[in-house]
Amino acid sequence: MNGTNENPAALLPELFLLGAAVVGLLLGAWLPRDEQWLVRLLAAAAALAGLVATAVAAGRPDELVFGAAYAVDTPTHATRAIVLVAVLGVLALSVDATTGHRRETEFVVLLQLGALGAILLGGANDLLLLVAAFLLASVPFYALAGWDASRLGTEAALKYYLSGAFLGVAMLAGVALLSGVGGATGYGSVRDGLAAAPVAAAGVGLVAVLGGLLFKVGGVPGHFWVPDVTDGTPPAVAAIVTTIPKVGGLVALYRLVSAAVPADALDRPLLVAVIAAVTMTLGNLAAFFQTTVQRLLAYSTIGQAGFLLIAVAVADRADLAQPALLYYAAGYAVTNVGAFAVVAAFPRARTLDDHRGMARRTPALAVALTVCLLGLIGTPPTAVFVGKLVVFTAAVDGGFAWLAVLAVVNTVASVFYYLRWIAPVFGATGPGAAPLPEGRWAAGTAYVCAALAVGFGLLGGVVLPLLAAPPIAW
């Protein structure tokens, strides 16, 4: 550890987000309501600049900056890229619903701050930075959940905040315990310290920290907020809270278990495997008989979190664990945003039945929705299929064949509820008229995301090798 690596240039993508958020907030305070789109433009420019900076940084060797607190390595680059692409997607799909809204600037700025927190979660290599990132990835999203000030939104925000506060405190206690018995806060030192620490204390600390991160991921037992927040908020907000913090939380989990916990001190692979199993089973079963599309997608994201957690369970047991996690997370983010974009295009169609006959009126959007939903199932050649393939392979390779079998059964179960949505879309028009899309931007986002979901799957051969380099450690 040396003190000379305080290199802000290594944090350009994060600084772009922060800068654009601060400038945007000030700008929004002065701009008239119908010119607040400038704030959105600034945010999009910052995200694009961040993507370029990420690409440039990915070409340089990995490094730890600010002591050993923040890692700039493959998982961080991937987190930045996924989160920034998701930010761009959400900025685009929310144009129709938020342009000219009196809190448009707040929407954009809160999104940027939360995204910054998610990226920091992915790169944090120190328990204290992890806590700070957790808060930054939580508080803006609590506010965002109540952004439209509707009755359901307020209730969602309160529920989101309460579960976050509860699990956040647990996480803080866990961090205190881990750093206490580990004798440090940096992941590398904690790992060395825990090797000699009492197993019970380390175990309790780890479980508490996992609890906080599972809240971000939307995995059991931190999943209670997901259905209410996803169903009670506008589609754009729902897309944000089910995508961006999930990616950050998963990479944080992966880094924590692979860098900060000794492999032999605890049976943490089994612990995470059980969490993954329970999460996917619960998410998929609970999605079965949902009638509103956002609640269905909410449980689907819990199910997907379970599949993603498999890769965390086999971290450092299978070579493919990291590319599996990052690739699946990227594919999931694009596909999930695409599905929510279709929902955002039909703000009046809340239930599955409201989508009846959609294919007759808007065949292109129906196809985009089908591609995204089949993509979430994991039908080849979409990105999530490649993700699932690599995750299953990593699971079998890591000695968790039973988990792969369970994931297969869950995948088949998930087909049932996705088809419950697809079938009416292509069915005959019901008593009411088929819904009409109310926004071009949301529809456009859906097309782009559907195309990306397929294209990204076909390009798996190019992308997977880029994700293979293990996290930097010392």
């Binding site: 590319p323 080849p380 299953f392 079998v396 297969v408 798996g460 051969g461 997977l464």
Partner: protein, 494 residues
């Protein structure tokens, strides 16, 4: 060349999507007929090109980090099925000239399905195989749900999707085990067959074969995984049923000869008796349940279970070394592949014929029809020919196939073969009974059923003609299959 054959229909489908749906339906059906004719001509060109082993190979790295490549090629096992696919799709294209419901989506779906089917039979990479396997399920789902018979069709399509999707994922698990067992890790079928990664046997090899076997058995389908088949067939449109029975079921049996047998030879030999038993049970169960049906289409659906049972019996017998010589095993394998082609042609024709019947009479219930032979001589003639071909009368392709399977299996599995022979008698009984009910007797006074339309005849008669040619002059087909089945038998016996 193969990529052109495979992706030509998909390219045409993509182009048709851009044509507005209000265009005259002849644009769509015409494009489909033309495309399938061109594809058929290309396949014939491939067929006539001399050569042995795996030909027209193309291999491009796709995801090298996980050992996946775009690897295609044809040999004597896949070429007959590629040929069958292009013939049957061409027949469906001609048959569909009379289709009027949402023609644009219908034609685009079928063209995509043709790409998927051809791609599966030429795929030499497990993931490529799986990709086409899965997409066939998705496309067939939309076909049954969208163009089937109403609300019940959607329920049947859902059952079909869930059941066969479960099978496909079991298959994927098996593939992953094979991938991890091979050193270096690969999904390439040719490399895996050469390496024989699980030669040591043991629980891992048994698990891999179990997973792959279940996946393929669901698609084939064999008893006890066949329950999705009757509703899916009954509710699907005629062309959908023809493709489902003629092509999609073959994906299961083809998987056995392309993947399970050469890649897991030792394990296959160990559990070959299971395949034999499952095959015989499918033969008898399919025939007996078909005998009990009053719904004509359901009856034909169950005969598919029966006919696929012979294939499973053949591939099982090819894995039993004790008491059989190489020639017998080769005969059983060749018979199994021939049976796939024969069943595709004959059952395809039968399903198209039942489609004609449903269009005229509005029901598949045999009791609703009587004495059709007097009013519709061409239809009755075609149906009689198809029925006799299906029950295995000499002179038709089915006889050649079943004769080879029985001769090849007799030495190694005599009891099973004798039991399976009973299936032939049962099939004969049920087809004769159906002919008797529907075509003979006094014509029902209130049903005015029109005879075969020229375009329907143009779709169905060539299928029956080809089944007859294979039955009378089988060498052109067997000369292609036999070298490949010799290679396969050697791979299994090593």
């Amino acid at each position: 060349m193969l990529s052109l054959i495979v992706f030509l229909p998909a390219a045409v489908a993509a182009a048709l999507v851009l044509v507005p749906a209000t265009a005259p339906r002849r644009v769509f059906t015409g494009a489909w007929v033309a495309t399938s004719a061109v594809d058929l001509a290309l396949v014939v060109a491939v067929w006539l090109t001399p050569g042995t082993g795996i030909r027209f190979e193309e291999r491009v790295a796709w995801m090298p980090t996980v050992g996946i490549s775009y690897h295609v090629g044809v040999d004597g096992i896949s070429l007959p099925l590629v040929g069958l696919t292009s013939v049957l799709f061409a027949a469906c294209a001609v048959f569909a000239l009379r289709e009027t419901r949402a023609v644009k989506g219908y034609v685009a779906l079928f063209l995509a399905l043709q790409t998927v089917s051809l791609g599966l039979f030429v795929a030499l990479d497990l993931i490529l195989f799986f990709l086409f396997f899965d997409l066939s399920i998705v496309l067939m789902y939309f076909l049954i749900a969208g163009w089937g018979h109403g609300e019940r069709a959607r329920a049947a399509a859902l059952g079909f999707f869930l059941y066969t999707f479960l099978g496909s994922l079991a298959l994927l698990l098996g593939f992953i085990v094979l991938y991890l067992a091979a050193e270096p890790h690969t999904f390439d079928v040719v490399e895996l067959a050469a390496a024989d990664p699980l030669a040591g046997g043991g629980p891992v090899a048994a698990f891999a074969l179990l997973a792959i076997g279940i996946g393929l058995a669901v698609k084939t389908p064999t008893v006890p995984f066949h329950t999705w088949l009757p509703p899916a067939h009954t509710e699907a449109p005629a062309t959908g049923s023809a493709i489902l029975a003629g092509i999609l079921l073959k994906m299961g049996t083809y998987g056995f000869v392309r993947i399970a047998m050469p890649v897991l030879p030792g394990t296959w030999r160990e559990y070959a008796l299971v395949a034999v038993v499952v095959g015989v049970v499918s033969v008898l169960h399919g025939a007996l349940v078909a005998l009990a049906q009053t719904d004509l289409k359901r009856m034909i659906a169950y005969t598919s279970v029966n006919h696929m049972g012979y294939v499973i019996l053949g591939v099982g017998a090819a894995g039993i070394l004790a008491g059989s010589d190489e020639q017998a095993r080769q005969l059983a394998t060749t018979g199994a592949v021939t049976q796939m082609v024969a069943h595709g042609l004959i059952t395809g024709a039968l399903f198209l014929l039942t489609g004609v019947l449903h269009e005229r009479g509005g029901t598949y219930d045999m009791a609703a029809y009587s004495g059709l032979a007097a009013r519709t001589p061409r239809f009755a003639g075609a149906f009689a020919v198809a029925a006799f071909a299906s029950l295995g009368l000499p002179g038709f392709a089915g006889f050649i196939a079943e004769f080879q399977i029985f001769t090849g299996a007799l030495a190694s599995a005599p009891v099973a073969t004798v039991c399976a022979l009973v299936g032939i008698v049962l099939t004969a009984a049920l087809f004769l009974r159906a002919l008797h009910r529907v075509f003979l007797g006094a014509p029902a006074a209130d049903r005015r059923v029109a005879d075969l339309h020229p375009s329907e005849a143009a779709a169905i008669v060539p299928l029956l003609g080809l089944a007859t040619v294979i039955g009378v002059l089988p060498r052109f087909l067997l000369d292609v299959i036999e070298p490949a089945s010799r290679v396969l038998v050697e791979l299994v016996a090593r």
